[in-house]
Amino acid sequence: MEICGGQTHAIVRFGLDEILPDEITLIHGPGCPVCVTPIEMIDKAVAIASRPEVIFCSYGDMLRVPGSAQDLLTVKSAGGDVRVVYSPLDAVQLARQHPDRQVVFFAIGFETTAPANVMSVVQAQRLGLDNFSVLVSHVLVPPALHAVLGSPRNLVQGVLAAGHVCAVMGTREYEPIVAQYHTPIVVTGFEPLDILQGIYMCVRQLEEGRAELENQYARVVRPAGNPAAIAQVQQVLQTVPRKWRGIGEIPASGWALRPAYADFDADLRFQVQHVAAAEPAECLAGEVLQGHRKPPECPAFGRRCTPDSPLGAPMVSAEGACAAYYHYRRRESRDRPAEGTEPR
């Protein structure tokens, strides 16, 4: 299993699974923060972005993710001020430039993005900005890995850990996981060669009966990670239970703002009431995110669920497993009869 959605895309895009021997099956894991952001969070984002005084800043990935009724792009087309930013510091800059508006930044991601996201809060505090806040929805890899490997339905025998998450957090927190599940974990990069090398190292461990933590991505990842980044993140964020879209709540699997930074918490500032949406089980995002199914095995794939009319986030996100298969491998879906979706 590869954890990271960016690795999934590289695999599907370069056809790496096609050039591997049949004995190796790649399962795509839950490493797409866009896919796993809970629907309640999207709904909160939509509600806040719809307010006329708000400039809502987000990474581009989040704009097309469907909430209960809308996505952020729909809010934009209805007149909301929704802006794509490349860096969280750009959102802080907007807050400085528009003191009369409320600038809200959608702080999502795994551990990789947290150092950047928290720095926006630190900067805003340093600059004394009272019109800047963040809507935080961070998720953590190790608890997700426990959920996958600890599931009675787990088929995963080796794991390619997310290279950039580990660039920040280091590799040490994966050693207990290796020990608990006796499963090799190889920290892997994102180029096709990195992924092939990571798979090779996993397979070698399995063939030699070893279960160890290895680092394929040594040019970027050190065992201790980036201590300055970790320290800053821990100062601003605290561990909380987090709901994963399609999977459910995993304890201690998310990060949220510490009480000391409550002034910058958009959730508190805007007090959005959320009505829990009833959830029909048509979308199998959970099965896909946990690696139990491949996207083409979902009955809705390519028919009722396409990037234009997605049933769930993995079909929309640039690195969602479903989107990867849809864009790069659609022949499998085309072999099945269409069911009244858009004309081809």
């Binding site: 860096s87 991601g109 720095m119 950039h164 590799t171």
Partner: protein, 107 residues
């Protein structure tokens, strides 16, 4: 997740916001990147950049190894115009041998 790309630090400056910033080059374009998390970085270093922040300094030795393998694959590709799939698996394990010896010690 985490689109991170390597870039070369061309200059370092500290504007009045207080955070060290670097002009980092990525294949012909350059952008300001926040260096607050890599205080030890100097001009000429290669860093991994994600959403406008440098998160890790690239290890030159390790990087050189990977780039040489990529070159070898590129040469394979040029040699046959397009590398055919059944040729590739034979070549790859040989190319990996030196790195795998490194990889065993790196964990």
């Amino acid at each position: 997740m985490c689109l991170g790309i390597p870039g070369k630090v061309l200059e370092i400056h500290t504007p009045d916001g207080g955070m060290p910033m670097g002009k980092v080059e990525f294949g012909g374009i350059a952008r300001d990147v926040c260096l607050v998390y890599l205080p030890e970085v100097v001009v000429g270093d290669w860093v991994l950049v994600h959403v406008g922040f440098a998160l890790s300094k690239l290890d030159e030795q390790e990087a050189r190894e990977i780039f040489s393998y990529i070159e070898q694959i590129g040469e394979l590709a040029e040699a046959d115009e397009l590398a055919m799939p059944d040729e590739l698996p034979d070549e790859l394990p040989e190319a990996l041998s030196p790195a795998e010896r490194e990889g065993e010690g790196a964990a």
